[in-house]
Symmetry: C2
Subunit: 452 residues, 2 copies
Amino acid sequence: MTDALRTDMYQLTMMQAYWHSGHNPEATFDYFIRKTPAGSYLLTAGLTYLLDYIENLRFGEDDIEYLVTQGFNSDFLNSLRDFRFTGDILAIPEGNIVFPLEPIVRVTAPIIEAQLVETYLLNRMNFSTLIATKASRTVYAARGRAISEFGLRRAQGNAHLEATRATFIGGCTSTSNVLAGKELGIPISGTMAHSFVTSFEHEIDSFRAYADTFPKNCFLLIDTYDTVEGAKKAAVVGKELEQKGEKLMGVRLDSGDLCGLSKQVRKLLDDAGLPYVKIVASGDLNEWKIDEHMRNGAKIDFFGVGTELVTGRPTPALDGIYKLSDIVENGVHVPKMKLSEEALKTTLPGKKLVWRIFENGTFKKDIISLDDEEIEGAEPLLEPVVKHGRVVCDRLALPEIRNRTHENLSKLPDKYRKLDDAPVYPVEFSPGLKALKKKMVEKIKHEEIGLY
Amino acid sequence: MTDALRTDMYQLTMMQAYWHSGHNPEATFDYFIRKTPAGSYLLTAGLTYLLDYIENLRFGEDDIEYLVTQGFNSDFLNSLRDFRFTGDILAIPEGNIVFPLEPIVRVTAPIIEAQLVETYLLNRMNFSTLIATKASRTVYAARGRAISEFGLRRAQGNAHLEATRATFIGGCTSTSNVLAGKELGIPISGTMAHSFVTSFEHEIDSFRAYADTFPKNCFLLIDTYDTVEGAKKAAVVGKELEQKGEKLMGVRLDSGDLCGLSKQVRKLLDDAGLPYVKIVASGDLNEWKIDEHMRNGAKIDFFGVGTELVTGRPTPALDGIYKLSDIVENGVHVPKMKLSEEALKTTLPGKKLVWRIFENGTFKKDIISLDDEEIEGAEPLLEPVVKHGRVVCDRLALPEIRNRTHENLSKLPDKYRKLDDAPVYPVEFSPGLKALKKKMVEKIKHEEIGLY
């Protein structure tokens, strides 16, 4: 199965219409995100999938056969047998901080090729960027406490692996997802469920069985019947482990008032002479709840976060789009834009670049410019990743991408990391872009809407 | 790659602990959903994935090798080489209406086997049921207008195919996702994007090029610059098509006040002598917005729905869980339950069945009973789907499942279909279940919490 048909039907109908009309100019499209789901910034992720796709993009015989049944022109379908992506792509690599409206990927290719890749790009990059961003916010809220991702059971089906990858890029330290451990090398963690406890005659039997199996890595789930009573039994088993020269690693709370219970359990464990036993908390957590627990002095050493982290709840999709900005007609660049009554749906015309200005080693502001403008004292953010259809950039290992996230976030002034009511980070348009946008709006109003 | 490691780490640690303790009794687990994301009911979907998984569940050599690196006991890992699922499963098939707390799947197997399958079951069935339910609500809101699913670009990455499948089960008529057309046989649809329009010098050039390519199936996107001006140009192209003996199929609105614009565009097309041209609307739609448009008399013939439909926004995950209800110890059934301060987190003990009582051909109420109770005049909903590890039920084709949805929804009294404030459908506990639950709560309080 190739990925060529992992696209919207309209890409293929448009491709046939471009082909039929002999209208296949070089076109440039920008991938950008109109607004953040929460907070001021976005953490980029998912480019790796696009690069794999671009290099392997082919229509298989079975794809063509299926399209025949859908009424496409047979000469057009024949042309797809030799389809390759031959264009150039600039991108802001994974693990970078970006802001709304900034082109994250810029695709330049014959329009038939550039059009096809839209859907796949949006499908993969929107989701990974959504989850990486969410993860970075969750990690921030935990103020140095580790976050383990527990979301596989609530992940959207087959999205689970890319969700886990994005949470790791965003700063989570481990996952419950064993396949992500095997396939992506992410550290895995996990202990026991309520069913383990209830499967034994008494709760303490289950604790003893687990401690006997994993004397060196024993975490006990203590809320199956009553959290405080469970903690007392865990303390008994902790003392039994000490007699064998081992140490109970931790207990997990999974329901109830996690903050209040953590304080009760901490005191109970300390009073029992078990100050080294860690407390893990899980159960419908998100960045806001973790922030509240930390502000209230919760005695929690690690957090396990599932549903909201891997689905992006309450905003499970990014408002990321892919818009035509430039066409080459008879060797001349013709800027393009979409107009809309909804201001946010009006796009930025022309081939563009993104620049960042630093102050004392931290991000000060970004500038979106036209391709031929140079912004002095600023760093360009878009890098060449594909040339003539071949990937030309380094493919970093996952831990390196995660390090880049950490490095970038350390340069983002703290005020922009606030969970709510963060100020808007300044993203300016260059003089050239401002002038072009104004000219284009006038031209479209004149030629297409007849307002003059 | 096998799916055996598509599980939570704690399933494997618990399996080793069961193995190490020689504690591998026959166990029964229930999959059920604690509450609906919205509305009164849930539409089941996703069982097909579980059945495929059960039949093919094996640990590959590469899986074992990976687990060796994670510190598992080598004898335990050796035992996984011969791992097969050998148990029995009852389930309520896809395309059925169920309600909170009702067991949708009941797994009975040695606990080592029944424990492993939890994560995969939850991962696949939670998501498909979420989306099928959402789709059925969206279809209901459209009052007979067709809904096409346009969500691929906003779907959570690799979740796209199962999302599209679930929307079809829920009553959508087509999808933009070409791969879903090829792999699942779902009808596909699609026309043009804004980039097609902007790639031409003038909007009307793009309309003419498209009409020339697809004279028999031409839908024109009219909001690239200004919807009403776009409609005027579409009318021009519609008249040109008439001169060639063809008919413009439709126009699409994708932004702005869809209801108001649909009325303006309808009038404009009618006045131009094009009353047959259909109006398609898309753009951030959901069941509530569609309902509002229909109540306000929108002149919309089809809806295209993307983001919210395929992600379940604003509730992108179901609160579905898998809980131990029974263990066989020395040949005797020992019911099991989890207690919690949070009432919804307390589970129902014992092996159970689900029954439905009809009145005048419509659903009147459901009853959850113990396995050995017979509810007179009621239909049992759980069917045997796996026996001794082999799938024993018919595997219906997708259109048949979709028909079953339709048939079931036609038997659900309309008041339960309300988008908001639907009454709670009556789900009662049988006398036997009520008595067992009471007895178990007393027992646990006495033995585990020491309240007596």
